[in-house]
Amino acid sequence: MSSIEASSTLRHTAWVLRGNPVTAVAALGAALLMLVGIIGPSFVPYDPIASDVPQALQPPSAMHWAGTDQLGRDVFSRLIVATRLDLAIAVTAVSVSFVIGAVIGSLCGYAGGRLDRAVGRFVDVLMAFPLFVLAMAMVAALGNRVENIVIATAVINLPFYIRFARAEVNIRRNLGWVEAARACGENHLSVVLRFLLPNVLPAMAVQMSLNLGWAILNAAGLSFIGLGIKPPTPEWGIMVAEGARFISTGRWWLVAFPGFALMLAVLCFNLLGDGLRDILDPRMRT
């Protein structure tokens, strides 16, 4: 990429961000969340799994900013520590399905024929499942572990990436510059990987940001119903599940704070995805 092109992209990004401050705030929020996920656990005021029963079920106070749970654990510390796990699950799952989906989808879109039809059928079958139920069944089948939440979330995201990459490659496979690449003696694999895929990736990256929010909700939902992550581990979905028992006696903070964390994370990624789409959409560049 030449420097003129790079600076024009930068200028364009800056222009879009100025016109759309919400995206800038969302990007900042997402970056902040990542930072909390990386360094947060070293700065928490209390041990997230040490119980302190005399302090159980205290409402938020100066000592415990988000109150304490039924074992007297500090909810705020648990929230911060949970950030890493929740984000790591979502990011890993979405990246895995992004990579696999991009490769399978673009090969199908380029090659067409029998492979394309077989994969297409498989995707149709996946899409006919209630996706959350499919994720539930997969975690139960593979075993109640964090890795399997990642795998299940990746699989239910996969159809979208395969379809997306397939469609995007398919409309480009016979364009002039692809023909030119072939005419210059590039083999098919190299045409797909070096010429077509880079043109499809930006649009897919937007999809990735939008899917991150969905992946977070999905993973938290699985642990809420008791699949995947086991109790003493701080995780937003489990914290809500544990707090659920105390909601009808008015202990709102056990549900509200982890719920708020979930909402904030999903909101940031969704708004960022919307903003990225505006930046990448060629129609916005005029």
Partner: protein
């Protein structure tokens, strides 16, 4: 007659093309359930010290000792004869369990969709009419927030506000409280059955019980519905026929509702179909929060004790509903826009 005929043929063709997908779902679920850890035979033996022989007997009863392809063939044969197997958990045929519980899920999901549409369509229309205004931004903000709050959190917070703080909602467990005498089941939809039985108090109690879970689900799906309404209304409001209708002096209300909205409703129907199927599947979380005795919570309970048959039955049921809903959308399309049948 002609257009209806064409619509039906199209629907039939669509149905035929979805059969391989249903078959795929069957096989895939079967394989997935067979790799579940935990031996159902051990689980359902008399107790932890059940002898090896006893477990073997149960395995034989369940057909688990046969080779996998044979088990699959037997399963497919049974499904073909409307036999979904027997749940070890309830001891009843799965088809019967599902039939008993499906109305609860359908009642909840349909109410939620109705609530969502009643809120989303006017919001979307309003946002499109005043596009760029504070109303438009407000609707957009509401939509962005709506899809970010997981249903299990919004459900619990609604319980906190309406049950604990305000005391307006009843105890959030199940469809009616245990002391209510149930009406004779005609439809399985409690709100309808109570009305048929002429029991207004019971009807009111059932509606009360239904309100919070339905609202919880609706909040989550208002966003896609309102967004599509807005986008499609913007296109339709900007088109020539709306300008013509305005220029001949029709009232603003009439232009918006009969001209613009009627033409903008197609994408809303499509999205409603998708939203309905998705809600029915992701019901699990709401049903769990509100102890709603629907099919999703039934499947979850079965899944947690490795009881295969109910989960397979549930997934098959969901996939079938998915196909049926798509067909209905097709047919509605034909009614809403006769041109759609020409293609």
């Amino acid at each position: 007659m002609g257009t209806i005929g064409v619509t039906l043929i199209r629907a039939a063709r669509r149905f035929a093309s979805s059969l391989p997908v249903l078959f795929g779902v069957l096989v895939f679920t079967f394989i997935l359930m067979r790799v579940l850890p935990g031996d159902p035979a051990v689980f359902f033996a008399s107790g932890p010290n059940a002898g090896k022989e006893e477990i073997e007997v149960i395995r034989k009863q369940l057909g688990l000792n046969r080779p996998m392809p044979e088990q699959l063939a037997i399963y497919l044969y049974d499904v073909g004869h409307a036999n979904l197997g027997r749940s070890m958990m309830t001891g009843q045929p799965v088809a019967r369990d599902l039939r008993e519980r499906l109305p609860a899920s359908l009642e909840l999901t349909l109410t939620a969709l109705l609530v969502a549409l009643i809120a989303a369509v006017p919001l979307g229309v309003l946002a499109a009419l005043r596009s760029g205004s504070i109303i438009d931004h407000g609707v957009r903000l509401f939509c962005s927030l709506g899809v970010c709050v997981p249903t299990f959190v919004s459900g619990l917070l609604l319980i906190y506000v309406f049950y604990y703080l305000l005391g307006l909602a009843p105890d959030p467990t199940g469809r009616v409280d245990v002391f209510t005498t149930l009406p004779p089941a005609h439809t399985g939809f409690l709100t309808i059955d109570f009305l048929l039985a002429g029991d207004i108090d019971g009807w009111w109690a059932a509606v009360h019980q239904l309100m919070l879970p339905a609202l919880t689900m609706a909040l989550f799906v208002i966003a896609p519905l309102a967004r599509i309404t807005r986008a499609s209304m913007l296109v339709s409001l900007g088109s020539d026929f709306v300008r013509t209708a305005r220029s001949v002096g029709l009232s603003g209300w009439r232009v918006v509702v009969t001209y613009a909205l009627r033409n903008a409703i197609l994408p809303v129907i499509t999205i409603s179909g998708i939203v309905f199927s998705t809600m029915l599947g992701s019901n699990v979380l709401v049903e769990k929060v509100f102890s709603w005795p629907g099919v999703a919570s039934y499947a979850l309970d079965a899944l947690l004790v490795s009881d295969y048959a109910p989960v397979q039955g549930f997934v098959l049921l969901m996939a079938s509903i998915f196909v049926v809903v798509n067909l209905l959308v097709d047919i509605l399309y034909g009614i809403a826009d006769p041109r759609a049948t020409v293609a």
